[in-house]
Subunit: 83 residues, 2 copies
């Protein structure tokens, strides 16, 4: 079993209203030191072992998990530690 | 300037409808090998330098970024590389 962690972030230059809202809220709570906030998705998958896990995960990202027009993605594959 | 990356995930045992929806969609696209999917948030902050950045970020998470009832969080602090 493999644990795959996918990080999906908005491409540079794409407006991030959620990030702006977080930055404004942090400022109103007194955290003036925050200059910029950007929000993305973080997906953890447990995937059965087989040889081309990386290719399959890339396909999953391209087909479903990430929107190629406005999002970038990267992923990490490691041995799953079942809790 | 520091770059802070915050990972917010649902606590073990908390139902994850978004994760379930992703798993079902991946199966319908032919990715049967996916056994489990859980979705979280990934927030990148740029924060001005000062001594207790870790404490301040912990406060930001406790007060705003994470819901302590259903979510866990962890964060990483590194030197910011401005692009």
């Amino acid at each position: 079993m493999k644990k795959v962690t996918v990080f999906i972030t908005l491409k540079q230059g794409v407006l991030d209203p959620q990030g702006k809202a977080i930055q404004t809220s942090l400022h109103s709570l007194g955290f003036q030191e925050v200059e910029d906030a950007r929000v993305g998705k973080y997906i953890e998958l447990h995937v059965e072992d087989h040889e081309n896990v990386d290719e399959r995960v890339k396909e999953m990202c391209d087909k479903l998990l990430a929107n190629p027009v406005i999002e970038d993605y990267r992923f990490e594959v490691e041995e799953a530690v079942r809790s």
